[in-house]
Symmetry: D3
Subunit: 274 residues, 6 copies
Amino acid sequence: MQFAKEHINRLFQAAKAMFMDLGITKTGLLTLVHDTLDANDMNDEPHVHIRLVVSRGVKSTPYQNPNVNIGLPLIVIIPEIKAVSPSVKTRGLRLATTWVRRGPPDVKDEQWNHISKATDVQACISANVMHVDEALMLDLRGFVKTCNSVNFFIIRGDEVWAPTKDNQMQGITRQKTIDVCRANGIVVKELDFSLTEVYGADEAFCTGTFPSQIHVTEVDGRKIGDGNCGAITKKIQELYSEFVRKDVERSREEILADISAPRDLTHLGIYTTL
Amino acid sequence: MQFAKEHINRLFQAAKAMFMDLGITKTGLLTLVHDTLDANDMNDEPHVHIRLVVSRGVKSTPYQNPNVNIGLPLIVIIPEIKAVSPSVKTRGLRLATTWVRRGPPDVKDEQWNHISKATDVQACISANVMHVDEALMLDLRGFVKTCNSVNFFIIRGDEVWAPTKDNQMQGITRQKTIDVCRANGIVVKELDFSLTEVYGADEAFCTGTFPSQIHVTEVDGRKIGDGNCGAITKKIQELYSEFVRKDVERSREEILADISAPRDLTHLGIYTTL
Amino acid sequence: MQFAKEHINRLFQAAKAMFMDLGITKTGLLTLVHDTLDANDMNDEPHVHIRLVVSRGVKSTPYQNPNVNIGLPLIVIIPEIKAVSPSVKTRGLRLATTWVRRGPPDVKDEQWNHISKATDVQACISANVMHVDEALMLDLRGFVKTCNSVNFFIIRGDEVWAPTKDNQMQGITRQKTIDVCRANGIVVKELDFSLTEVYGADEAFCTGTFPSQIHVTEVDGRKIGDGNCGAITKKIQELYSEFVRKDVERSREEILADISAPRDLTHLGIYTTL
Amino acid sequence: MQFAKEHINRLFQAAKAMFMDLGITKTGLLTLVHDTLDANDMNDEPHVHIRLVVSRGVKSTPYQNPNVNIGLPLIVIIPEIKAVSPSVKTRGLRLATTWVRRGPPDVKDEQWNHISKATDVQACISANVMHVDEALMLDLRGFVKTCNSVNFFIIRGDEVWAPTKDNQMQGITRQKTIDVCRANGIVVKELDFSLTEVYGADEAFCTGTFPSQIHVTEVDGRKIGDGNCGAITKKIQELYSEFVRKDVERSREEILADISAPRDLTHLGIYTTL
Amino acid sequence: MQFAKEHINRLFQAAKAMFMDLGITKTGLLTLVHDTLDANDMNDEPHVHIRLVVSRGVKSTPYQNPNVNIGLPLIVIIPEIKAVSPSVKTRGLRLATTWVRRGPPDVKDEQWNHISKATDVQACISANVMHVDEALMLDLRGFVKTCNSVNFFIIRGDEVWAPTKDNQMQGITRQKTIDVCRANGIVVKELDFSLTEVYGADEAFCTGTFPSQIHVTEVDGRKIGDGNCGAITKKIQELYSEFVRKDVERSREEILADISAPRDLTHLGIYTTL
Amino acid sequence: MQFAKEHINRLFQAAKAMFMDLGITKTGLLTLVHDTLDANDMNDEPHVHIRLVVSRGVKSTPYQNPNVNIGLPLIVIIPEIKAVSPSVKTRGLRLATTWVRRGPPDVKDEQWNHISKATDVQACISANVMHVDEALMLDLRGFVKTCNSVNFFIIRGDEVWAPTKDNQMQGITRQKTIDVCRANGIVVKELDFSLTEVYGADEAFCTGTFPSQIHVTEVDGRKIGDGNCGAITKKIQELYSEFVRKDVERSREEILADISAPRDLTHLGIYTTL
């Protein structure tokens, strides 16, 4: 299963931020996912996409205070067989910048990873109205941040530029793409940049758990590069496929062991037994 | 039924903002509410509180784009028998200011009236951690805006001060309280004010559909006035009770007629037949 | 000539803000306009639209500092015969909200009334890309402000709502429209409002020197009202036409006398002889 | 003594905001002021200016937490004989806009009325560096707010414009000037305005407890009006002098009775006995 | 004496920002500190904590303008014998996030290092009201910045994260802690992060001149790590103690020579004789 | 010709942002510049400064929409013989901080590189009013950003600090100065810093295409360093002169080849034939 540890950790951190005790350990939760796959006989399916959603469960009255919840949280696991249509992979994405902005973390922290998606859905509606595939979103200071359901990158010369991590979905594919680039000698900078630098980029692409990396052909009516998938984007797609292949080859036991392992601080000269 | 027209209008405006066609007219929706009350034999109950929640309904796949919705929206009507315990009415509310801020309308417009309540819930959690009844929330410019689930007012001298309508829940009780005050010669100002002006207020109270007006006894450890329900707050409670009594006495037919009536512009010398 | 005094005063105030001595009096400048109309034999033309643009004139070297200017400012007066096509008046305007924002007055004050129109042009380009007539622009706090080349109003119930004067072009037609409404018993509020309140408005219209008031039929794919010109908008158009007719009937002498008259403060009990 | 009630109330509200128990009643504090004047034989002096400063008093260690304070607050009363030199009254004030901004109330609320004057002093230094009398300060949104030690007004046509009360010193002379104008039929608007509207104003003046109203002759090198004290400013100075004369004629007993009186709500039909 | 050079330099830079001529050289000031220790016979005391506060001195009238100061600045040197109680060191700190924000440098630059502590004191009061040891403060964009009297760090995995230097007290212990970590192979990143990343951190600690590093056990009711002092925090405490030990072993002559030495730019190939 | 490729690329990126088709290739445009120099017999002049300005050309009516443009853009090439007077180089620049702020890229992106210079000109006017050479400008968060017509750097210890690239003119000399420093072992950090860190800097300098680097002697009345050109600034001037000398020695053919060359990605293991 792809990057199980990172997804589980992100879920637990978000639950803690929402003051929500999941009532289960990380390994317990992952075991539930495994059980679900088994129960649906989906272990050998090549294109299973899992959605794991947690809510506070039953309330004594429909009111926002978690104090009126009774009993345990509700855990929903949805495994779907899903594949990006090859035509989308080939034609790439057309984007347009929306008026909807990504807000600050003292209003709604993207790291809460919450299903309160009104902002994203409004941006998505905006994309529909503008007849493009995804809406490109700026932050409150006017810098480029993310698309409504996928993360965003540009390539200028031989450098990959990513908006800083804040105020956008903490995409695991986003982080892994950065890691893979750096491990292979491709420079990635996380910085503020403007739409002008997007229009003038040589390449651009989006990342998501499901589609990995898809190239962007057009933003606000300006063609990106020559309008096709660029050379560095292609290279990253290849490197990433290989990287994922290795990750998913791991056995369930390896993954479970990974999740329950303590921090290794021996390289700092610290022997810790948490 | 209390202020049915205002609640229905607010719902339809919010649905339009979310590009959501409810597939039903305003009178149709209100009739559904009436039917629900009939079906539950709740017409003569004195303390029925209705929650009316609308979602886009079934999706072909769990993805944020409204384009993947299939079929009609889902309409949920929850009638509850609910009364504020007299002791809460008597003891009033203790508030503390939270670090969570109300955001701007290009991020998440409170007028979407959406159930994406992550911001409000985080503020509510903050209130729980601080051991108070509700969290008082500031806007991004540092002015006092609202509580996490009720609207907020202060009284200084003989003037009622309300935060401006923006960036807070468009409370119908909030608006009706303002209307009732003005109709009875009590000055209400909608303006920006700071916590210092709250601490130094003579009285403070909160409004919600359910509790009408409840006085505030304490904010951030500072007692408001003498810590009891103030003279003007009591007066407003009396005026408001009478006002509601008249509204709920109206027959179902009167309410339905009110909802479907066109704008009356004859006082502007305009004869319109929309 | 329509609202000559207001246009001349706006120009002189802006010139003062840019530390620019026009080297001519207000009456002198208006006389130049009259001379231009005479020279072009345009006095009896019903649809003359005048553009009056002032620059600092010749520079000793192409550098931004006004200190390198030599000689007097350059005054350009362009009289054009121009009429809004009746079809535009009939079909109204389609708007979409752009990502381009109106900035604050410590960055670029709209009251400088400057021809530095990069912001407006970028918004206009955005409108072109979205295939609408004008771009609707928000301010940095996310509230609705203006269109890229015309001012914006909505009507909710029997009230006209206008964004506050700041951070938008100081349209003289905008101000005169407000004045005409108030003089005729139509309530106009200048306040912050959000897109949701635009989508849910009964009517909307734009104002400009040239088109006076044109109704808005659609914003971001949401139809406004029933998509036609509303009853109050029509009323305002009629009242405004009559108002303009009276203004343009004034003789050149009356207008010149008006421009050079001192403030009349006698109603305050002040007898001033500036 | 001039506006004793307002000064005392402002002090008590600020102390509450700083969670500081002054350990004395309002009438007690005013009596101390009277005693100080008596002890210094200053009762018949025409130009006594009183500074009343309160601190938390002695600390067990120099640390910011009020918990380490021991004993009662320290009350300092400084009566000074002080008069604005007639030449300043005659020549008026020259201002220049500083880079220092007024901050928001969740950072430092001007209503804390605190002697933490680093912001004001930095602006004052800026004025010294620019060789003007006072620095004009903008707020974080770029609108005109206040001078570094006095409040600021402009007059356009026959209207007085004042920046909104927020983010500036809650000057009692500022408020009383507004009250006096309104009581005498002079329109005062509290609103956001920009420097361009200052440069283009007919008149401008500053207010402070000590200098009452002084006209402004120049802002950022632009002459205001004709550079002299304007007709409306003069009128306000006259009206205000008369208003103050009546206030200071009150006996000590009248003032003390005024300070300890409860709110009068009889005009609202409320008979309160707090 | 610990980090004398850095403290003296910080003081002189701040005085320059406040346009304040201290009337003494850096070595002169340090000599005064030495003299004070000698006069109090405190040289061999192991726990002396020195506060060095400078004010403009005597004024001819209580007014904010430095121009009314007469004579030299006042220099106050307070040596105290002070030790963190071992129990605090053992139990660590409990924090809660306050509504009070750190402001921007054009309002009040934390680098002025000024005793205008109203913001900090208000945050401290907020901590008292919430019954925690220190208040955690966000900046105006909603990111975690500092505590009210100590600086703040978190540890995620094997990385130390510190808020960027801006808008917080320029803690010398903060900087030295970063230096010590980097010199010992511990990665320190200075970046924007949110409360969610604090709640999900493995460890957190605060720094101050006096307590060096103290671990944080709880933030907003969420336990940090397992609620005890973490392995990397302990390691940093050890490394830092050793680092300080070496610094304080230096003779007075070495410290004085260090303070008066010019910049050494020989490694850039520049031979400078300032 | 100095840094022709970078200037041409910046122009084309800006034109794309303004949705402007220049109707000419990069090499075509550079050839026009060469032709202009030839036509003016300026090839052997040592101090030729070229201004290359592009506008949309003729419009059918004076209106902001690019759709009313007819025909090709207008290209203006102004070669001037121009030299910084040696006295300016010797005496350095005096700066003062202006109230005018650099805005965000969703209002006016500095990368549009547009001649809409109202903001810069207002800052320049502010500098004139304050009797200094250039105005120092902050961004909306209060950090130091740029001067009105040149970029700004400070040197603290042995580090060069530059404001981050955003919200300021994308100076090519600015970038080349950074490149030259880094290539020669001088550390350059791009970060947010405040005026206090400017006042306390050891050195400061400005960069522009024309003057290269000029030292700053004074900011807001505070002397920088000892008021002369500092040792590192001098070193950078020498390194930069040598760097420019090599660049301008290149033949026209080399420069043209450089402009039309594709990205070289062979070091990434990518063989691209765009």
